[in-house]
Amino acid sequence: MAELKINVEFSGGMELLFKNIRKHTLAIPAQSKVNPSGPATLQDLIFYLRDNLMTEKKDLFVDKDTVRPGILVLINNVDWELCDELEYQLEDKDEIVFISTLHGG
């Protein structure tokens, strides 16, 4: 089964939800689970992370079918809002960053 190599990075404290590891290299199925007739999307990646890399506090990452408020997502250093957000089709070697917005000072 074809897989995509995806580089995931957590920043701004998100890494605390993922065993304190900031950088992960994942091999995820190229075929979407959310929409089985199509290619894997960013939403597939979010569900993959939730289901495979988290054991608890999942609600601090995912809210319903997307990331919770306060998390920004970067696709190859571009705001996901400029790249179709959840529908973005993953490509091999994509670099995805999940960053928690900070409020301290």
């Binding site: 404290g13 705001d79 960053v97 900070l102 301290g104 000072g105």
Partner: protein, 271 residues
Amino acid sequence: SFKKVDALSKEEILRFEQLKLRNTTILVVGAGGLGAPAILYLGANGVGRLGIADPDTVAVNNLHRQVIHTEASTDTSKAESAMRAVHAIDSTCEVVTYPFALTSENALEIIREYDIVIDATDNIGARYLLSDACVLANKPLVSGSALRMDGQLTVYHHNNGPCYRCLHPVPPPIDTVSKCVESGVLGVIPGVIGTLQALEAIKVAVGLHNDDPSFLIFSGLTTPMFRTMKLRGRKKDCIACGDNPSLTDLIDYAEFCGTADSDKSQDLFLL
């Protein structure tokens, strides 16, 4: 060895624009870890009028981050203490202090007196308050934040870029919100961001901040330490800065963010 050039360098423009900086007024909200270097560098670099707002008093256990204050200023107003530090460097700098909290009641009136606002606060309610107020008063907002070994920097409501609400229409769940915990926070982290806030404000003041919206992400312990993210523009459907804004006045931000019960904001799980 006189050398002709085809164009002025950006640096030369900047020099000629010193006059612009002298005629610019900047309000720094927060005289803590971020505000300390921002205030120091803006005050020392010829800003026309510098406003400093902070309701708190100087505490010794914060001095490792808030390097503008001194042991001798303990228990005095942070805003006044910051003014003294600026005047020690440049006694001619015009400084106005606001030794109280900016609120939905007073923020607009104060912000309207300035050309540029710097968000150097430490809580999410203040960040929505300042963003909304800057949109309503039509002022650019240089926003910085820091926690643990991470920092973030962006300029809101400038050059058709987004406001804070364009990025965050809904506040995060209260479990994920926290004020800065003092222990383990290295003073240099807010120091880096606060210094960059001064730089961004100067660039805005002299008209050299013309790039597409971006978001600077700083992680003190990783390589590379800095990452620049291309950011969305102003959202047409934003309730604050959109084409048909429904937000026409400031609101109750503690209620909006769910931080009214301050016990919750002390949660140990910090994001």
